[in-house]
């Protein structure tokens, strides 16, 4: 592909200790993210996509693996070095109601990263920067002295985006940034994210369960299931030519807002539910719900391999 990757994740694992054993939320995922692209990560609830995002910024301490950013392994950095490195790593959260401190004004919320990193010389520089950021996300300076409860969900998400942009990061992880918003507001926020990307040359990792939105915003997409990456390809390739049985089922399950198409489609129905990630067995995690499963799928975990150009799949039978 193009250039060097901005981020290389290798075999990232995050296990949690729970009663009854180890919960393997993320169990060895590897991928690259290139500069100025949007990497989408999709999967159903409990598949580990949010944990993967949080592990990458080290909000969770990784269990294993390495994350190379600008040639440095982020997972090896000390606490102090990490704080410095975080300037380049920001995060936008799912819930615009829970991720803003209700007791702080918008100005203080947006300026908090600047405060922590001593990124201004005097007060007026601080407030100038805040106003600049608010304008960037489509709010204005009058909003600076207000509190989060005075804003709608979409506006709050804009405040969260302004805060994430404060330190001029290179890389932003968007963890379900629009799933709490109404359809018409979702489009506003997605358009804003796209504009900002072009203007500021940002790289995104976009985590979501809304597959049509992920296709729309992402250049490449990875599909997760129970802690593993199942398939990864360019967005158009993945949606037009899905290879993994899980990806196929997932895509066929999205209802298309067009009655003529929707009513004439064949759905691949998956039986049952996602199994528990606590002490998973050897073998492919999807085996119990897969209609193509063979004996080998139960014995050994399939490797995540490049089956055709830039199209990675973890499956024995393709």
């Amino acid at each position: 592909m193009m250039a060097e990757p901005l981020i290389s994740a290798r075999n990232i694992k995050k296990y949690f200790d729970v009663a009854g054993g180890k919960l393997k939320a993320v169990d060895g995922i590897s991928f690259d993210i290139y500069p100025k692209e949007t990497f989408g990560l999709v999967g159903e609830s409990g598949c580990g996509k949010s944990t993967a995002g949080r592990t990458i910024v080290r909000l969770y301490e990784p269990t294993d693996g390495e994350l190379i950013f600008n040639g440095i392994n982020i997972f090896k950095l000390s606490r102090k070095e990490m704080q410095e490195a975080r300037r380049d790593f920001q995060m936008i959260f799912q819930d615009p109601y829970a991720s803003l401190n209700p007791r702080m004004t918008v100005e203080d919320i947006v300026a908090e990263p600047l405060d922590i990193h001593h990124a201004y010389k005097n007060k007026s520089e601080r407030s100038d920067r805040v106003i600049e950021l608010l304008r960037l996300v489509g709010l204005n300076e009058e909003h600076a002295m207000r509190f989060p409860h005075e804003f709608s969900g979409g506006q709050r998400q804009r405040i969260g985006i302004a805060r994430a942009l404060a330190l001029k990061p290179k890389f932003i992880i968007c963890d379900e940034p629009i799933s709490a918003l109404d359809v018409s507001i979702q489009a506003q926020v997605v358009n804003l994210l796209k504009e900002l990307q072009e203007e500021l040359g940002l790289t995104y990792m976009f985590i979501a369960h809304d597959l049509s939105m992920v296709r729309y915003i992402s250049d490449r997409v990875g599909v997760m299931y129970l802690g593993h990456l199942m398939e990864l390809a360019k967005s158009d390739e993945l949606y037009s030519n899905p290879v993994h049985p899980y990806t196929r089922a997932l895509l066929s399950a999205i209802p298309i807002p067009n009655p003529d198409i929707q009513r004439n489609r064949k759905r691949i129905m998956l039986e049952g539910d996602v199994p528990s990630p606590i002490n998973p067995r050897e073998g492919c995690t999807f085996v119990d719900r897969c209609q193509y499963a063979v004996e080998r799928c139960r014995q050994e975990t399939p490797l995540f391999e490049e089956k055709s150009a830039e199209h990675f799949v973890a499956c024995h039978i393709v």
Binding site: E44, S45, S152, G154, D182, V183, S184, I185, Q186, A187, Q188, V190, N191, K194, H209, L211, S212, M213, R215, Y216, S235, D236, Y239, A249, L250, L251, S252, A253, I254, P255, I256, P257, N258, P259, D260, I261, Q262, R263, R267, M269, L270, D273, V274
Partner: protein, 336 residues
């Protein structure tokens, strides 16, 4: 078609500390036999309040009916006593709620929760009701139903719990099922299972469904007719293919254009609707979509448009549809 339900000029308000919120402002629609009617709209548009109003499950006060009537098989539900409503609720009209985690009683075995309704409404003996509960769970494809009826809600996954909710709602063979965002809390693969199940049961048992959702994909999949709500009013109503193929109201058009489709070019920009819905403490005098409408005219600000009655199936509330309105030539295929 014979109508099971007719809602006429229904108005529901809430009394609050800050004044009166007019959540539902005079809506009229009907649901035919074996028909699925989808109510779509964004949060706060009054769709769930409408459902709660039909079931009379709204907390009163603060809620109160300001006017209108709800005719179920020709009888006005608003004139029924609470005791009479108890005989209808769960028996003739059932409801499936959005969140299966909170709408089942966590302290009761799920078998008992189904049996309870059957014994009350159908005067069944305990044994017969248990047998019927097992059958219902089988019908909604819960594996090992004999074992499962003795378990508590927390022992079920989200999808299984929603199946239990549906079994519970269907147990008394209702004429009308109100499903309020039945799959919003579920994953897409499980959502597909539940929607298929609802279709299958509707075919088998022949009930009518009011499906409340914000997901236009689900609407395209499930409904016969669509009611589009905004700020407590109905802006457009029509057959599903009419709404998707030739929406008449600017709001419907914009709503359809703001969701990404899988067949859409990635370079295309999503059409967002700028601004936010109006405040229902002081609803606007004119068209409620006026502030956000890119095609708004002078008349829209202070004058509420009526429904145009030219089509029997497809009506919208917009001045642009007035026979004397100037033809719009700015429209491209999707009308943006």
């Amino acid at each position: 078609m014979e109508n099971v339900l007719e809602v006429k000029n229904l108005q529901i308000s809430f009394k609050t500390f800050f004044g009166e919120v007019e959540a539902v402002r005079g809506i009229t629609f009907s649901v035919g036999k074996k028909e699925t009617v989808a109510i779509v709209g964004e949060s706060g548009c009054g769709k769930s309040v409408t459902a709660g109003g039909i079931m009379q499950l709204l907390p009163m006060p603060p809620a109160f009916f300001k006017g209108g009537e709800i005719l179920f098989n020709g009888e006005n539900l608003l004139e029924k006593s609470e005791k009479q409503m108890q005989g209808i609720r769960g028996n003739k009209i059932s409801m499936v709620f959005q969140d299966p985690m909170t709408s089942l009683n966590p302290t009761m075995k799920i078998g008992y929760q189904i049996v309870e309704g059957l014994m009350k409404h159908n005067k069944m003996s305990r044994e017969a009701a248990i047998k019927k509960s097992v059958e219902m769970l089988e019908l909604v494809a819960v594996p090992q139903p004999e074992k499962r009826i003795n378990q508590y809600p927390h022992e079920f996954s989200g999808g299984m719990r929603q199946r239990v909710m549906i079994a519970l709602a269907m147990a008394c063979n209702p004429q009308l099922l109100i499903a309020d965002e039945p799959t919003t809390a579920l994953d897409v693969t499980v959502q597909a299972q539940i929607l298929e199940l609802m279709k299958k049961l509707q075919n088998q048992l022949g009930m009518s469904i009011i499906l409340i959702t914000h997901d236009l994909g689900i609407v395209a999949d499930m409904s016969d007719r669509v009611v589009v709500m905004y700020a407590g009013q109905i802006l457009e109503v029509g057959l599903t293919h009419e709404i998707f193929a030739s929406p008449k109201h600017p709001y419907t058009r914009k709503l359809l254009a703001s969701v990404p489709r899988l067949d859409m070019n990635r370079e295309e920009r999503l059409h967002s609707i700028e601004g936010t819905p109006p405040d229902l403490y002081a609803p606007p005098k004119g068209c409620s979509f006026y502030d956000r409408c890119s095609e708004a005219m002078k008349i829209c600000k202070d004058n509420m448009p009526g429904f145009d009655e030219r089509s029997r199936t497809h009506q919208s509330r917009c001045w642009l549809n007035h026979p004397m309105a100037q033809k719009r030539n700015s429209m491209n295929g999707r009308g943006i």
